[in-house]
Symmetry: C2
Subunit: 305 residues, 2 copies
């Protein structure tokens, strides 16, 4: 599981940072990639990575500001142009369906693959045997959601040594035991699979906020996350501006990370006002409160261990 | 007067070529820049040039395909973000008003400057004392316009030597004579300004086609142009494909340039199928028919002399 940052800037593109988008690579887990936000030029950024558009299974939109959605129509069209046939689902706030449909219709873009757009007002937006994704309403002056991606715990590995010692030879029975089944040996002994499994592997939690002012709901989003990706549009000294413009500061993000016991914090949505050493200063502010912090850069790939 | 190519690729962006856009720089003529088409990432390309978004006075859209319009909402928003206050006018086919309005409304993008969108069905779309712009309907399976930009002839320069020989001293009278006025000398001799002007300077003609199949209307677009910018989505051998997909070949563009006595031909909208030497081959095909041909590249700037 990797996070690949595609755009880490705020509001408008700059030479250093494109507007918002990031990819959650779930290639091992499900042979798929999930995108979070899709600012203009996201497909251009992807050209500089190994990511394939056809692998994109889901796109989660945090909010409707242009720097988070204007790359969507073009990316959908190019995915089709490249021959993708697998369905794609878009999750987002009210309005996203209309935006996508209007752009595709006006441009006469006909997609070769089925597309589903799901508008929500928060809560569980997706669940299968592997993952739960919860959308949590934050505060950005218009509906803006953070996404909490929760991987379900995976059963432990089957302890083959212990099974062989109990006289069970490798074969189809192993899969049954791994799935929690039981079997009877020739001697009439009942074997419970659960007794031969290692400890379950805890699923990862990735918390991704789009744009938001510091607010109480963020705790629910960030609680015990393995990785918290948080906007930091302003530095420590601009807390008042951040509040007025519905954005967050470096230290608000760091305090949240600490309070919620997250394992790692990545700051993103960095304004072009901050260049060179000033970006280092942002990191220092946050690091004083929560040390395991980094500042995202375009095309940075982070493995979630 | 310069043409700056911002995107010279076909359909989807590649690492080498972005999707369609070009800027006609009229800085000396009117302190302004006109954009023709605005594919996704046009504002990103502009970051690598000296062009200022606030200088963009007009945007002409050839047709509604995504690779020609998806950069429009973001560019409009960034122009506002950068503080531009001068009005901007967009010209384009039916649907462009709705597309722009929907994208701005859904994203809650509020522009600080007035915007006017003019939908047309061909003919003269703009005229002032300097320029006439005519939109000519071409053939692309949906309404697609070529734009013929005609600079009006400029009066010749006033021949000061000849005036002084005639006894007229430099002063306010010179401007009056330059504007075609007359004056009487102290000796009662009537001086006609027109007798003291050099030959008028012929205005330039720039012909810009978007996407089109080879068609008779192109002659009207290209006639006697100083510069013809023509799509060449296919090579010579793919004339049948070009026809089917409503595109043109290299040699169709070159034959048009020759027939219409244009001064220079630039081929653009180059498919990513053509790389390296293959692009040279496209140029050779066209060059055999019309030698003053070049192939556009992203960020190429051409002075129109
Ligand atoms: Zn925003
Ligand atoms: Zn087209």
């Amino acid at each position: 599981m990797n996070v690949l940052f595609l755009g880490t800037g705020a509001g408008v593109p700059s030479k250093q940072r494109n507007v918002s988008s990031l990819a959650l690579e779930l290639l091992e887990e499900r042979g798929a990639v999930w995108l979070f936000d899709c600012g203009e030029g996201t497909q251009h950024q992807i050209l500089h990575t190994s990511l394939k558009l056809r692998k994109i299974e889901k796109i989660f939109i945090t909010h409707m500001h242009g720097d988070h959605i204007f790359g969507l129509p073009g990316l959908l069209g190019s995915r089709s142009f490249q021959g993708a046939e697998d369905p794609l689902t878009i999750y987002g706030p009210k309005g996203i369906t209309q935006f996508v449909k209007a752009a595709l219709a006006h441009s006469q873009t006909h997609l070769r693959y089925p597309i589903e757009v799901i508008e929500g007002e928060g809560g569980i937006v997706f669940e299968d045997e592997q993952f739960i994704v919860e959308a949590i309403l934050l505060e950005h002056g218009l509906p803006s959601y953070g996404y909490r991606v929760m991987e379900k715990d995976k059963p432990g590995t089957l302890m083959a040594d212990k099974l062989m010692a109990a006289g069970i030879k490798p074969g189809p029975a192993y899969q049954e035991l791994k799935d929690g089944g039981t079997l009877e040996t020739e001697e009439g002994k009942v074997i419970h699979g659960s007794d031969f499994l290692g400890p379950p592997k805890k699923g990862k939690i990735i918390s991704i906020c789009g744009d938001t002012r510091s607010c109480p709901q963020l705790s629910k989003l960030a609680e015990d996350a393995d990785l918290l990706i948080h906007e930091a549009t302003f530095g420590e000294e601009d807390e008042k501006l951040a509040y007025e413009y519905y954005h967050s500061t470096t230290i608000q993000a760091a305090a949240l990370a600490k309070q919620c016991r997250v394992k790692q914090l990545v700051l993103t949505h960095i304004s072009a006002r901050y260049q060179g050493d000033q970006v280092g200063a942002l990191l220092n502010e946050a690091g004083k409160i929560y040390s395991n912090t980094i500042i995202a850069e375009d095309l940075l790939r982070l493995e979630i261990k």
